[in-house]
């Protein structure tokens, strides 16, 4: 770890959500030690934030992540509804679409595989051998999800060509990773997805080997295409090709017997008797023993195989063609022993071996392994800014731990934009994760409040239906009104509708609740209504509402002065809008206010234990006195007017 105090201290690390680490210099002291002055303080020490470099998050792979997610979800739907056999064939179709835009011919025992390859790029040219097939899948059309990995590899290859270091190195490793993924996926398909009658897996194993170890086929094509037509001239046959016999052996090991015969025919001595018989029974000196499963012959040709699994496929073809999938492990171990041994396996080898072995225990283990892998993958994706929803879809399919995992991670996603927060809330709501909804809305409300965006804070509070927060914000609105004589976010307050009931279960005519702040939101709603009535000139209705509010004692104490001053505005109009009872109510309110003293807006809402902060009152005491006196005068005048008016009626 870099840092000035490298020698003196050790290190410590803590996790930050979701996958980042914070690492810092740390020297532990126990509680027993006397407090010693810190020898190396002050100094320049740093806290480092460390993040895993996840290859999967490379922008080139994004499309694959999204498309594979689509396939996954489709697959889950298929499994859910179809019967086993239907689901299987559909799944096979999908997995093959998933793998590339070739179509495969499904072959029943002892029939040679036919493969058509399309030219992907210059590096891969595959040969075509025509043979009748039993069942044919339709060629997947362009629009469906197919060739996902292949398409990704194509893009990566293109980028690789024009990239420079160090990007080139990253792309290279991505290419090899995904190539290997396709390679191993093919094997999975053979072992798990394809339902082979009698569990005879060899033909497909051979197909797997042939597809991925294509060099000898390529060489064979090259030799054939070079058209060694003239057979008459001795020594001018194809055998003069340096790799002729090697290619032949390779083809035989892969069981590509037709191709072998084609090559044989190109030999200058092809017309001769021995070649004829060889051609007829497809035997040559080295391969004859092979075909009889001769161990010695096999060990001689071992060098023609790059890997143990190529060797295994060849061995099985000529010694145990009816091998069952669960016996593969046994043969695998034998072949590994012949090659480099268990000690020298690379990652791919380990995985292949594991796939073969897992077959044994697939009944008990597969579902849990499945969930474990989905959980890891889903959690990983949750750490990415944009891919978290894809991650969530995988976690949804983890029956035992997915929900808990999602509940744990969702609240830790950064809430830096409204849109993102809304999306998170939606995802949580869809899954009935009410705690997460509440927590997220609260956090957003607090953030907005801290940025003085009260209206936005209130909106978030409505979403969470958090009544105490609503009351708290209502207080803030009212305080600001006292200060500014205008409401912030008045549109929102006017149109609260039933939302205002979040903070008051009682109707506005009910008695005052013990907790003052609960009723404040309702009060604001009604007060806004009052203003609306006033503004459109419905003075009488406005007045009635005002009196009702006073009677219901909904208003917080610090607001009473403001209410009475509103009343004054009405009282000073020429019409009699307050009758004598109303006026009486106003008067008694005023009396109460004078008696209790005008309450300081700022400190009225805090718990008693808190020290008073910024202990300014809104207005000077003498100013308040003036206003009270004015109100008194106006009310008194109105009272007499009202009485006279009523007397006259």
């Amino acid at each position: 770890m870099p840092g000035a105090v490298r020698q003196v201290a050790g290190g410590a690390a803590m996790w930050t959500p979701i996958e980042n680490l914070v690492v810092f210099r740390y020297k532990h002291v126990t509680g027993h030690l006397q407090e010693l002055p810190n020898k190396s303080a002050p100094n320049e020490a740093k806290i480092h934030e460390v993040r895993p470099d996840i290859l999967l998050f490379d922008p080139m792979i994004r499309k694959l992540i999204n498309e594979s997610n689509g396939t996954f979800l489709e697959g889950q739907k298929l499994m859910a509804k179809a019967t086993m056999s239907e689901a299987r064939s559909d799944l096979l179709k999908m997995s093959k679409q998933y793998r590339g835009h070739r179509h495969f011919f499904y072959i029943i025992i002892f029939v040679v595989v036919l493969i058509i390859f399309s030219q992907v790029n210059d590096d891969r040219i595959f040969c075509r051998w025509a043979l009748p097939a039993r069942r044919v899948y339709p060629i997947p059309s362009e629009g469906t999800i197919r060739a996902i990995i292949r398409a990704c590899l194509e893009n990566l290859q293109k980028e690789l060509e024009r990239a420079s270091e160090p990007r080139k190195a990253t792309l290279s490793s991505l290419v090899s990773i995904f190539y290997n993924i396709e390679f191993l996926w093919h094997l999975c398909e053979i072992l798990y997805v394809d339902a082979v009658p009698g569990d005879i897996v060899l033909p497909q194993l051979l197909e797997w080997i042939r597809f991925h170890f294509f060099r000898c086929e390529r060489r064979a094509t090259a030799i054939i295409d070079a058209s060694y037509i003239s057979m008459e001239t001795e020594g001018n046959g194809a055998e003069s090709e340096p790799e002729y016999w090697e290619t032949m052996i390779g083809l035989v090991l892969q069981g590509q017997l037709e191709a072998t015969r084609a090559l044989l025919r190109l030999h200058s001595a092809a017309a001769t008797e021995p070649f004829r018989s060889a051609d007829f029974i497809l035997k040559t000196m080295p391969t004859f023993s092979l075909l009889c499963g001769d161990k010695e012959a096999f060990s001689e040709v071992k060098s023609h195989c790059e890997t143990w699994y190529q060797y295994m496929a060849a061995w099985l073809l000529y010694t145990e063609p009816t091998v069952k999938s669960f016996d593969l492990t046994f043969h695998a171990h034998q072949c590994i022993a012949l090659f480099r041994g268990l000690d020298k396996l690379n990652t791919t080898d380990v995985i292949i071996l594991a796939l073969l072995e897992a077959d044994l225990q697939k009944v008990g283990v597969a579902p849990r392994l499945h969930e474990h892998l989905l959980l890891e993958y889903g959690s990983l994706l949750m750490g990415h800014r944009s891919l978290w929803q894809v991650g969530a879809s995988y976690l949804d399919h983890c029956p035992t731990k997915g929900r808990a995992c999602l509940e744990r991670i969702l609240p830790c996603l950064t809430l830096d934009t409204e849109a993102r927060a809304l999306k998170i809330v939606q995802v949580a709501r869809d899954r009935n994760m009410n705690d997460v909804v509440l927590a997220t809305c609260k956090l957003m409300a607090m953030k907005s409040y801290q940025r003085q965006r009260l209206g936005n804070a209130l909106t978030w509070t409505f979403r969470s239906r958090d009544s105490s927060m609503a009351g708290f914000l209502a207080d803030k609105f009212l305080q600001m009104y006292c200060r500014d004589s205008t409401f912030q976010s008045s549109d929102l307050l006017h149109n609260m509708g039933t939302c205002m009931l979040v903070s008051d279960r009682l109707t506005f005519l009910a008695k005052k609740t013990t907790n003052e702040s609960d009723s404040n939101l309702l009060f604001i709603g009604k007060y806004c209504e009052f203003h609306q009535l006033f503004n459109v000139g419905e003075y009488r209705n406005a007045a009635m509402l005002l009196v009702e509010l006073l009677k219901a004692k909904l208003a917080p104490k610090y607001f009473l002065l403001t209410l009475l001053e509103d009343a004054v505005a009405l009282l000073e109009s020429n019409d009699i809008v307050f009758n004598s009872d109303d006026t009486h109510e106003l008067a008694s309110c005023l009396d109460q206010l004078i008696e209790d003293g005008v309450v300081d807006v700022k400190t009225s809402c805090l718990p008693k234990e808190y020290p008073e902060q910024e202990n300014k009152t809104n207005v000077e005491p003498s100013e308040i006195k003036k206003r009270l006196v004015l109100i008194q005068k106006v009310i008194a005048r109105n009272e007499s007017k009202a009485i006279i008016h009523e007397e006259c009626l």
Binding site: A9, A13, K27, H28, A358, Q361, P607
Partner: protein
């Protein structure tokens, strides 16, 4: 983020991912040992503990901005001072939020205290709910953050007593609904060296608990409640304790252990200046050969061929394939490296 010396400092991260300091104050009259955050639901709340025998709870206040629409001044205020301890307070941790607003402290004289704020809107009011006396000096504690309501509240306390003959150094306490008290249910007698840090892993559906211990090496222990073993009086189930893993790769004392958010990766750090990450491996296979990059995979010594559902975490393997790079640094000349 937190700091040390006598001061506590707080940094915030802005939208661009840059860190800037938003708070710095003298928290105690002695060295601050530990700092911990409460759940964000309670606001921006932090607790500190110190050599000065106190633990404090702090809250960030945002004042009103001078201009409407602008954020006001933020500053941290002390909400309460917990002064019951007679010796240095060595650790302070908030309880799981499902239990309300609780904080636990442990001291060098072996006393663990649990405080509660009955009104979560009023952080000035805390009551001492429980006090437990251990025979050894305490250095660390960890709440079990289990989200499963079937498990009773659980606390693990570690002791840094250096005398190995004084017995186990990790104690498990559980709260009994029947007696309304915390009781010591287990002592881990296999851990006899001084313990410097402990941490329960977040539990996302496991039937057992995972506890990581930082001592002379890294230890991971599973605690599995045994059904049908409830104590008649307390109603608490007996725990089956297994030492699942022990790693001495640091070749030195391990000071800190920390679980990631899903409880799947453990970070450990020690005197060797290295941080190591440990990941639980799913091992359904009988043989795990050595992987080509030289890392020895855990063997199959104790795992049966077919895994039963209760033993998913059979062995632990060091991750070696993740590459890490530095995101950014925070440096402050006044910063002291240890807390």
């Amino acid at each position: 983020m937190k700091m040390a010396g006598y001061a506590t400092k707080v940094w915030d991260q802005d939208e661009q991912g840059n860190w800037y300091m938003t708070g710095s104050w003298k928290a105690h009259s002695g060295s601050v040992w530990k700092v911990t955050w409460a759940h964000p639901e309670f606001g921006q709340v932090v607790a500190t503990c110190s050599f000065d025998r106190t633990a404090c709870v702090w809250e960030e206040i945002v004042g009103e901005g001078a201009v409407p629409g602008e954020e006001g001044l933020r500053h941290w205020v002390r909400r309460t001072n917990l002064v019951d301890s007679r010796t240095s307070v060595t650790d302070v941790k908030f309880g799981p939020k499902s239990m309300g607003l609780l904080v636990a402290t442990c001291s060098a004289d072996g006393i663990v205290r649990i405080y509660e704020a009955p009104d979560i809107m009023n952080l000035a009011q805390w009551t001492l709910q429980h006090e437990m006396t251990l025979k050894l000096s305490c250095s660390c504690l960890s709440w079990n953050p289990s989200f499963n309501r079937l498990h009773p509240p659980m606390l693990a306390v570690g002791s840094d007593d250096t005398n190995s003959s004084s017995g186990g150094k990790v104690f498990i306490y559980e709260y009994s609904e029947n007696t309304h008290r915390w009781a010591k249910t287990e002592t881990l007698s296999t851990v006899t060296d001084a313990v410097h840090d402990i941490s329960f892993a977040p539990n996302l559906g496991r039937s057992f608990h995972l506890l990581a211990i930082a001592t002379k090496d890294v230890r991971i222990v599973t605690l599995k409640p045994l059904p049908d073993s409830s104590n008649a009086q307390s109603g608490l189930m007996k725990l089956d304790i297994q030492m699942t893993a022990q790693f001495d790769d640091h070749y030195s004392i391990v000071w800190r252990v920390c679980w990631n958010i899903t409880g799947t990766i453990l970070a450990s750090s020690g005197d060797d200046g290295c941080v190591r990450l440990w990941k639980g491996q799913f091992l359904p296979f009988r043989v795990l050969p050595v992987v080509g990059d030289g890392t020895q995979a855990q063997g199959d010594t104790a795992t049966p061929a077919i895994q039963t559902p209760s033993s998913v975490v059979a062995g632990l393997n060091q991750t070696s394939t993740a590459r890490y790079y530095k995101l950014g640094t925070i440096s402050n000349p006044n910063q002291v490296p240890w807390h």
